[in-house]
């Protein structure tokens, strides 16, 4: 069984710091994993290094998600952060890569050719945050309807209002004509 081996964090830190150098915006030690902060364009090379470097072997994809730091009390390098969580079966540790993406040009390279699991999770982030993944084979909405406008998990998207259920056109069985609508 894969077991948690906290002593392997040291070799991970040394290797990542030697590889990333100045591109590393910072790192944070969490309860049982390390979080590396980079810019969006550097994320893919770091993740590829984590996966392919002998002795690291982060082959297991765990999660990919995003956070909108628009109203966060602590200033962040950019508005959006795409967070990828990986697991190394050989080292027995998890790692997180936090890639900051600018508000004006929310784009970063897709991980879908590195991890099969990135396909749907990137579609979800595109759907809910509007962050574009360059090189994704099929980037389209996944949870919201195809004709939906806006990206609902952004902090400037209201809880009630735009695109709410009451705004969808209603079809009445008797007349078969759409009523209401936007």
């Amino acid at each position: 069984m894969i077991t948690y081996k906290p002593e392997n964090h040291l070799s991970l830190l040394a290797k990542v710091e030697a590889f990333a150098g100045d591109r590393l915006l910072g790192r944070e030690e969490k309860s049982h994993y390390h979080q590396f902060k980079v810019r969006g364009q550097d994320a893919k090379s770091l993740i590829q290094f984590l996966r392919d470097e002998p002795g690291l072997g982060f082959e297991m994809f765990i999660d990919l998600t995003a956070v909108d730091y628009l109203r966060y009390p602590i200033a962040q390098p950019e508005r959006f952060a795409v967070i990828t969580t990986l697991l190394s079966p050989t080292l027995g540790i998890r790692v997180q890569v936090k890639a900051f993406v600018a508000e004006g040009d929310p784009r970063l390279p897709s991980l879908s050719d590195l991890y099969l699991g990135a396909n749907w999770t990137e579609r979800e982030v595109w759907d809910l945050y509007g962050i574009e993944f360059m090189g994704h084979p099929d980037l389209k909405r996944i949870l919201m309807p195809d004709d939906y406008e806006g990206h609902p998990l952004r902090k400037d998207y209201p809880l009630r209002g735009r695109g709410e259920r009451g705004n969808f056109p209603v079809y009445h069985a008797t007349t078969q004509k759409p009523q209401g609508g936007v």
Partner: protein
């Protein structure tokens, strides 16, 4: 590694478009699979999800930590207690709270019991989809008995909302141990019946053996966890990877298969149920009287009877439940990723706190959402009837798939 870009579909006049779901008895919830079939052979598929999208993650930003627990019931509605416990553990990790021993033992027992309930429904429904109706009646009876106990403990059968941040809603009923012991005994008999009926059943083996094989490399690349991953030989279980609650004191084997086919995914659930029965029995012996809630009432809701009984608890209750930033629990400004082993796999919580009483961001990493995309690859080139067998072994729950 499977490549989505190299998908070439040879279409001719015999290619037919076929649509299964979102409302179809074999689709286990609101799943839709669009297929191109030639004869009975599936050429290409596209899965469409989102029919049950409820916006839990958006709602979570507008609810307090204790209010969000009611929403976690609706994720995997076959094992709501696992979700309650997972979220409570994540928010306690954010707050830096360790709950008392009795609370941890109760949570472990209930987590394993909800694993039993979830797996028993999955193995029953899967064989029902393949035409064996008796087995679902057996497992439904067992699940119903478990739900009776959940009702006695939490007050409801399905939407339990039993945990609180830093404890539990209330203590166990008096006859809990006696009732659970009786269920475990009858559950073991049902497991023997299931093994006897299906492990050497030619019809069942023909439908499942070698069907829908997920390789170990693909399982890791997709991020598949839980029974599905362990049926493919990925030795990953969070209960042993980073033991939480009291799992490091209990003795259990994690079943592991190498085949990765539908039969292995069926067998592994039966084996895990046998392990869960043993885990509940062991944990029951560790059940000792004691407090169930974290002692600091500035961060944990007081007991309901004392809320109605004394002034101090009423004030604490008021301070915790009132809306507004002067009230409620205030975790430090930070973010954490915490995961528990839910019946379907790794149920992860990525909580971001901005220091107010509501979470800044609640990311749910649902096992079903990460486990489901592999279906496209498995169905390509397989028979139409395999869809039902493969999907039944996945145990995809639409509530946590679409959130």
């Amino acid at each position: 590694m499977y490549s989505y870009e190299k998908e070439i579909v040879e279409r001719d006049e015999n290619t037919v478009h076929m649509n299964v779901g979102p409302s179809h008895p074999a689709m286990h919830g609101t799943l839709r699979v669009k297929m191109e079939v030639k004869g009975e052979r599936i050429m290409n598929t596209e899965q469409e999800i989102g029919f049950l999208h409820t916006g839990f993650e958006k709602l979570g930003e507008h609810r307090s930590y204790n209010q969000f627990i009611t929403l976690t019931d609706r994720l995997n509605y076959f094992s709501p207690l696992s979700n309650n416990i997972g979220f409570a553990l994540a928010s306690e990790e954010l707050l830096g709270i360790t709950v008392p021993r009795r609370c941890q033992v109760i949570r472990t027992i209930l987590a394993e019991m909800s694993r039993l309930a979830d797996h028993s429904l999955c193995v029953g429904a899967m064989t029902m989809d393949l035409g064996a109706f008796t087995s679902i009646l057996w497992t439904f009876v067992e699940r119903e008995k478990l739900y009776d106990v959940f009702e006695a403990v939490t007050g409801t059968r399905l939407t339990s909302s039993y945990t609180r941040v830093g404890g539990l809603a209330f203590d166990l009923p008096a006859d809990f141990e006696k009732r659970v012991t009786a269920i475990l005994d009858s559950m073991e008999k049902t497991l023997d019946n299931l093994r006897g009926s299906f492990y050497k059943n030619r019809i069942f083996l023909d439908r499942t053996e070698g069907i829908g094989v997920i390789t170990k490399e693909d399982a890791m690349s997709y991020g598949i966890t839980g029974p599905m991953a362990r049926a493919s030989g990925v030795p990953y279980d969070i209960r042993t990877f980073r033991p939480y609650m009291i799992y490091n004191e209990l003795k259990f084997e994690v079943p592991l298969y190498k085949e990765g086919d539908t039969l292995a995914r069926y067998k592994i659930r039966i084996d895990e149920m046998a392990e869960s029965i043993s885990l509940v029995r062991q944990a029951m012996k560790l059940l000792e009287p004691g407090p169930i809630n974290f002692e600091d009432q500035k961060r944990t809701l007081p007991d309901k009877t004392s809320t109605y009984g004394d002034m101090e608890s009423l004030i604490h209750h008021f301070k915790l439940v009132m809306p507004g930033n002067d009230h409620g629990i205030h975790p430090p400004v930070s973010d954490i990723y915490s995961a528990t082993e839910a019946p379907n796999g790794e149920l992860g919580w990525h909580l971001v706190s901005d220091g107010t009483s509501n979470p800044y961001r609640v990311r749910i990493r649902p096992p079903s959402f990460i486990n489901y995309p592999v279906l496209k690859q498995l169905l390509k080139g397989s028979m139409l009837a395999d869809l039902v067998a493969i999907l039944g072994s996945f145990n995809i729950i639409a509530g946590e798939l679409d959130r």
